[in-house]
């Protein structure tokens, strides 16, 4: 027992320090809140930055021109010949319309700059129009045509606080577009090209459909391979494998593969599939192979957890009424573990969808305009498309890139929500 004066002294000592200790406590707590705040702030900043840059890409600028669709100007002699209709000089008609709209423009260089107002792909739109409605030939009408990306960027940035982005424009070009705007001949419309077209060097004609289809095919191959193989190996490891060196070896391998950087899988794909088996580059099939190897550990680990969660009593009951091992697994364990395994598979697929580096190695980074139609067509995937566009010097690609990122994040959010929903909905607590 301590004596009374000593006790007093301890309490005084404690009290002396108490305020300081409480301050330290408060500080510590504040550090914690600050860390979480920093993390959430980064998230917010990232999202607002991307959405702020990308939302404009869903609209695109159209210019109204008075176009004379005469057969003479189009070089069509025979209206019934589809080949002539297809090969007619639509861009020339647009140029003529521009010349008539701005008659004061003379000189070769100025004229060329003037023609740049409309997109080089605008002619195709008129072609489609004529092919659908041939009766429009030899009429003069007001047509809305796709504007070039520079004018698109200018028009979109006009109302912003920083003032319009003029980029490479000279005074004349600005005056043309301002005249058009003053006439109400410029308009923003929903950008359908972005969702319907493949890649292009011209920002206003570039779209993500090719990349989305490439991602879809790649993911299909990945899912078709990694889910059955992953489930099969999880079943083996949980239900059959005896505790021995070999099983340990398999487990060590799986755990290691889960931590190997993804680019190493790209090296593997390059050396084995491309170089050794001489498979073609840039196709979703090989991409799917590589991503399968990459996502397998994720799927095996989550499937094993799901199988482990099925209580042994189920197995024993099934065995007790005479089921064989295979019947126990196929009729009882797998159906009960399926929700957990599906959740793992979706998370693995989300991981595969966002993966870029290994696909760069196997050449899915090529510039491909056509929308792929099968798993053996050269294609690119959404994250690689983002990478490619982010490297492009044109300013208009920044908003396209951000918009593609928004689409990618949208897919990821849908997949993860699905996984969470599936887990909540179907998971059984024993």
């Amino acid at each position: 027992m301590a004596s009374a004066p000593e006790n007093q002294k301890t309490i005084e000592l404690v009290n002396q320090n108490l305020a300081k200790r409480y301050r330290a406590e408060k500080r510590f707590r504040a550090y914690g809140i600050a860390s979480i705040g920093f993390g959430l702030l980064c998230l917010l900043f990232l999202f607002t930055d991307i959405i702020g840059k990308g939302h404009t890409a869903f609209l695109t600028t159209y210019v109204k021109l008075n176009v004379e669709l005469s057969t003479d100007a189009l070089d069509i002699y025979d209206v019934n010949d589809p080949q002539q209709i297809a090969g007619a000089d639509y861009q020339g008609v647009l140029k003529k319309a521009l010349r008539e709209r701005f008659p004061e423009v003379t000189g070769r260089r100025d004229k060329r700059a003037l023609y740049g107002i409309v997109s080089s792909g605008a002619g195709f739109e008129i072609r489609t129009l004529i092919e659908q409605q041939p009766e429009l030939l030899n009429t003069t009408l007001d047509l809305w045509v796709l504007a070039d990306d520079d004018y698109d960027t200018y028009y979109k940035s006009r109302s912003s606080d920083e003032g319009a982005y003029t980029g490479r424009f000279n005074e004349k070009q600005i005056s043309w577009i301002e005249t058009l705007i003053a006439d109400g001949a410029v308009e923003k419309r929903l950008n359908t090209t972005f969702f319907n077209a493949g890649d292009s060097r011209e920002p206003e004609q570039a779209g993500i459909r090719g990349a989305i289809m490439g991602s879809l095919f790649t993911l299909l191959v990945t899912l078709a391979l990694s889910f059955p193989i992953g489930v099969a190996s999880a079943v083996y490891l949980e239900e059959y494998a005896k505790k021995n060196k070999f099983t340990d070896f398999i487990e060590v391998n799986i755990n290691n593969l889960a931590a190997v950087p993804s680019i190493i899988f790209g090296l593997l794909g390059l050396a084995i599939f491309i170089n050794f088996f001489e498979m073609p580059r840039s196709i979703p099939l090989v991409g799917g192979f590589v991503l399968t190897l990459m996502t397998l550990p994720t799927i095996i680990i989550s499937s094993r957890a799901a199988i482990k969660a099925v209580p042994p009593s189920i197995r024993e009951a099934a065995m007790g009424i005479g089921a064989s091992k295979m019947q126990v697994i196929l009729h009882h364990v797998l159906p009960l573990a399926m929700p957990g395994m599906l959740t793992g598979a979706i998370i693995g697929m989300a991981q595969a969808l966002g993966e870029t580096a290994p696909l760069l190695m196997i050449g899915m980074v090529a510039f491909i305009v056509d929308v792929p139609g099968s798993i053996s067509d050269p294609s690119t995937v959404l994250p690689v498309q983002i990478f490619l566009w982010s490297d492009s010097p044109e300013r208009a690609f920044v908003e396209k890139t951000s918009a593609a990122i928004m689409v990618l994040l949208g897919f990821l959010i849908i997949m993860n929500t699905l996984a969470v929903w599936l887990r909540k909905r179907l998971e059984r607590r024993w």
Partner: protein
């Protein structure tokens, strides 16, 4: 079973289309498509036929077992196994060998055909070095595909193209006939073997187990594949560049000189600048991620209410789910300019206010700081969820004891919880480091290409992964040290990340305090 079918079909499809695509990226003409279409149809009809055959085998085997059970002595009771197993057994006998044959045939046939083709070529052509021979073969294959080349082909090439067409057709036909015959033969064989005494169930379950085992061995195969592909190519690289020069060299410039007098093609393969760059960016990332992640985990597991936790934790984990290419874009287009602008104006301000300082520093627009910061943000949830787990694993009794002695909550955390959880936290940090070292897209997009040997975070550095990507993207020949050096870098990366993972596991296992 159907998976196997799909895979085999697709492999074949790509192999047949391969040459055309590899040699010519242009949009293909319609005739060409037509021809490919027929070839694919051949294989797909073969696979479909095999699938039908397998299904038929199942039905027949099942039927025969039931018939035997009926005709011999009263019903299923006398069968060793259920009819399903007899059907399955017949189907397996029919399917596995024939599909295996198709698979092997498809992987082998191009090389065998190439060999046969080379034998037919004139001697002086066949004696050419390997790379030129490859060119000749490609030309012949283009001819056989019907792609006319610019100049008229030499007569021996046209001849070879013809024989290539013949060989391909023969191979295709032989494969079809052999696979179907084999399938039918084995199906009939196992059909005849069906008897009530046959232990069909055991055999089918044995096959089931074997298939499962094969699937789980894929993980081993992948590791072996990684190790071999990386080591094999690295060995070839180390034949031309000594290991010591690679590991200890201070100069990295993989551009090989094609002519002797070429400027800038020194072909130096000293990887130290890359290692330093990787380390610099990873250290910056860890400086951001470790304190933030750790404090967030502590707050969430020790202070936050269950409700706050259930909202904040998933939100932080969203950071981990964002693809790295998005972070790369963010780092390159938003963070790097921000750092450059604010840094430059800060230096200007300092120089104006305190003239004696006279700071001479320029900030690169591809600074290591930008890449490192963004990478750190990416790793925060990784650190926080790993530390969260270990902090939660510290038993409550320890906290109660410390609180009971009168310490405040933060003192409990600092002096009791953290020391108890330290091995797990260290393990988590090591895993985060391995993650940072292997991260690719952020650095490819936000860090530079120039291999500067510097520790200044404002300068541009390059990393191992950036170099691997730049060396291997695009067309490359597999015999130049420039390409092969990427594999040597890959080997280094693999070894380092493996060592870090092993170390993390070891730390956790060895120093973990057991409280139970």
């Amino acid at each position: 079973m159907f998976l196997g079918l799909l895979v085999c079909f697709e492999i074949r499809q790509t192999l047949t289309e391969g040459f055309a695509k590899r040699t010519q990226r242009l949009p293909k003409s319609s005739d060409d498509n037509q021809e490919n279409f027929w070839r694919i149809m051949d294989t797909s009809t073969l696979i479909a036929t095999l699938a039908l055959l397998i299904a038929a085998a199942y039905v027949m085997g099942r039927g025969r077992s039931m018939e035997l059970a009926d005709t011999s002595q009263g019903g299923f009771r006398n069968l060793n196994s259920l009819p399903f197993y007899y059907g399955m057994l017949t189907a397996l006998w029919c399917g596995i060998p024939s599909l295996f044959l198709v698979g092997v045939w498809m992987t082998m046939d191009t090389s065998v055909i190439d060999m046969l083709l080379i034998k037919q070529l004139p001697e002086e052509v066949a004696a050419m070095p390997k790379s030129e021979l490859g060119l000749v073969l490609n030309t012949i294959k283009n001819l056989a595909e019907g792609n006319m080349l610019g100049s008229a082909p030499e007569p021996y090439m046209a001849q070879a193209a013809d024989s290539l067409k013949r060989l391909t057709q023969t191979s295709q036909m032989a494969m079809t006939v052999l696979a179907i015959c084999l399938g039918m033969l084995l199906a009939v064989f196992s059909w005849f073997r069906i008897s009530p005494e046959q232990k069909a169930r055991l055999q089918v379950e044995g096959a089931f187990k074997a298939i499962l085992l094969a699937c789980s061995c894929l993980a081993i195969l992948t590791t072996v594949g990684i190790v071999f592909s990386v080591i094999f190519e690295s060995m070839r690289f180390f034949q031309s560049v000594p290991v010591s020069e690679f590991v200890f060299g201070l100069h990295w410039s993989p551009q090989m000189a094609i002519r002797a007098d070429q400027v800038g093609g020194s072909g130096a393969f000293g990887a130290i600048p890359l290692f330093v760059g990787t380390l610099l960016i990873s250290v910056i990332a860890l400086i951001v991620a470790v304190p933030t992640g750790l404090m967030a985990a502590i707050y969430l597991s020790e202070y936050a209410t269950a409700k706050v936790r259930s909202i904040v934790k998933p939100m932080l984990e969203v950071l981990a789910g964002i693809p790295t290419v998005v972070y790369g874009f963010f780092a390159a287009l938003t963070v790097a300019p921000l750092i450059k602008d604010s840094g430059t104006s800060a230096i200007d301000f300092l120089n104006i206010q305190f003239e004696f300082l006279n700071i001479q520093m320029s900030i690169s627009s591809e600074s290591a700081l930008a890449a490192g910061l963004v990478m750190g943000v990416m790793i925060i949830p990784f650190v926080s969820s790993l530390s969260d787990d270990v902090i939660n694993a510290v038993p409550q009794s320890l906290r109660d004891g410390s609180l009971g002695l009168g310490s405040t909550q933060s003192e409990t955390i600092k002096q009791v919880v953290i020391p108890a959880a330290l091995p797990g936290i260290v393990g988590g940090v090591l895993l985060a480091a391995s993650r940072a070292i292997g991260e690719t897209m952020i650095v490819v997009m936000a860090a530079g290409l120039a291999a500067n040997l510097t520790a200044n975070p404002m300068e541009s550095v390059t990393t191992v992964t950036v170099q691997i990507v730049t060396l291997l993207v695009g067309d490359q020949e597999f015999d130049s040290p420039k390409t092969l050096s990427a594999f040597a870098l890959g080997l280094m990366l693999f070894i380092v990340t493996l060592a870090l993972n092993y170390l993390a596991l070891h730390v956790v296992r060895k120093y973990r305090e057991q409280y139970d």
